[in-house]
Subunit: 190 residues, 2 copies
DNA sequence: GCCTAATCAGGTGTAAAAAC
DNA sequence: GTTTTTACACCTGATTAGGC
């Protein structure tokens, strides 16, 4: 179950137990160098990451693996480790899952929220401008506005406050250094 | 780099590149079904998890691998994949540990604590930046902030002082301590 | 034994997907 | 486009366990 070694690609299918049947022991020591996609959030935090795939010479979590797969298909030989897409489209990788969830920075939320107040239904052009401003994709912006409209409809007061600030102590990313050495006393009340 | 296949144990040592030298491509599809130790939290949260070992038919992170190792030694053959303990006690898995507990340097504590004062809930981006600054994993940083919030809630005065300095001998590479011992008052405004 | 890093169990908000 | 659902990322609060 779920560990296979293939000597030559591409393989469209294989049965692991058969492939390895003559091996009494299979050992793989793998150093996972996380692909620094977006925020480098690959391994430890992209949670639930039970599934890993080897691509090129890197082990990627399922999420990042799925993201990279399309690219790989159009990539020429890069060395001794090449196209794995054939080998990887097997029963063991059935559902491309692990929906990547964007986590916005407060800055991005700030921008979107500020605009939302003026215009809850930005047109395509405006979406693109917001995308450029935030560095997010147009689609992500669009979804955010959709969700934001829905959210506000459910709870009208809700979105008068940028989400992160609801439980963030300080919304301010950086303060002057003297702020660091503030006297402490009652820190929190809740 | 960092992927090795061994056909026969026990091995006390091996050179990966040599072992695999005749393979043009090495493919390992690995579904890491986390050993449901407690909560099956193997991969994502036990941090550091750059190292994985294959045991029986499961890939375990270093932490769980080390935990399981003693058990395995007393387990009879369970199929085509058996005892790996011999094979795995190699240079790449030198120190068997249990729950790896990070011990922060004063520099790391300094960085985290300084940031904590201005922002008790750093967002993902900030966590990553702190991780980069300290050389710690994002997850470790996150846990520290969680614990720090909890700590401060329990004892408001507590975290006005960087923890290590409270009972650690020297550990004072930079910064004079009087910086830490400041008058107390209102730390936060909200 | 104390302090605290790491884990556990449970809860919340919401981005993305599905359904319409 | 909307509404509903799903699943992920993060939180708290309590607990467990590593290292002086």
């Amino acid at each position: 179950m779920f560990s296979k070694v293939i000597a030559e690609p591409p393989l469209s299918e294989f049965e692991g137990d058969e492939v390895c049947s003559d091996l009494k022991v299979f050992v793989a020591i793998i150093f996972i160098h996380m692909r620094p996609l977006r925020d480098g959030n690959c391994g430890p935090t992209s949670a639930k990451g039970e599934e890993f795939g080897l691509m090129e010479n890197q082990v990627l979590c399922r999420l990042h693996y799925d993201i990279m797969l399309p690219n790989l298909q159009h990539t020429p030989d890069k060395g001794n480790i090449t196209h794995l897409d054939g080998a990887l489209r097997i029963q063991y990788l059935p559902k491309p899952s692990k929906r990547p969830r964007t986590s916005f920075t407060s800055e991005q939320l700030q921008i979107m929220h500020t605009h939302f107040i003026q215009d809850k239904n930005p047109d395509a052009q405006m979406l693109q401008r917001l995308a450029d401003m935030t560095g997010l994709s147009r689609r992500v912006i669009q979804v955010w506005f959709q969700n934001c409209r829905a959210r506000q409809k459910r709870n009208p007061l809700h979105d008068s406050i940028p989400p992160r600030d609801r439980y963030q102590t300080s919304a301010m990313p950086f303060l002057s250094d003297n702020q660091y050495f503030l006297p402490l006393g009652r820190p929190e009340t809740h």
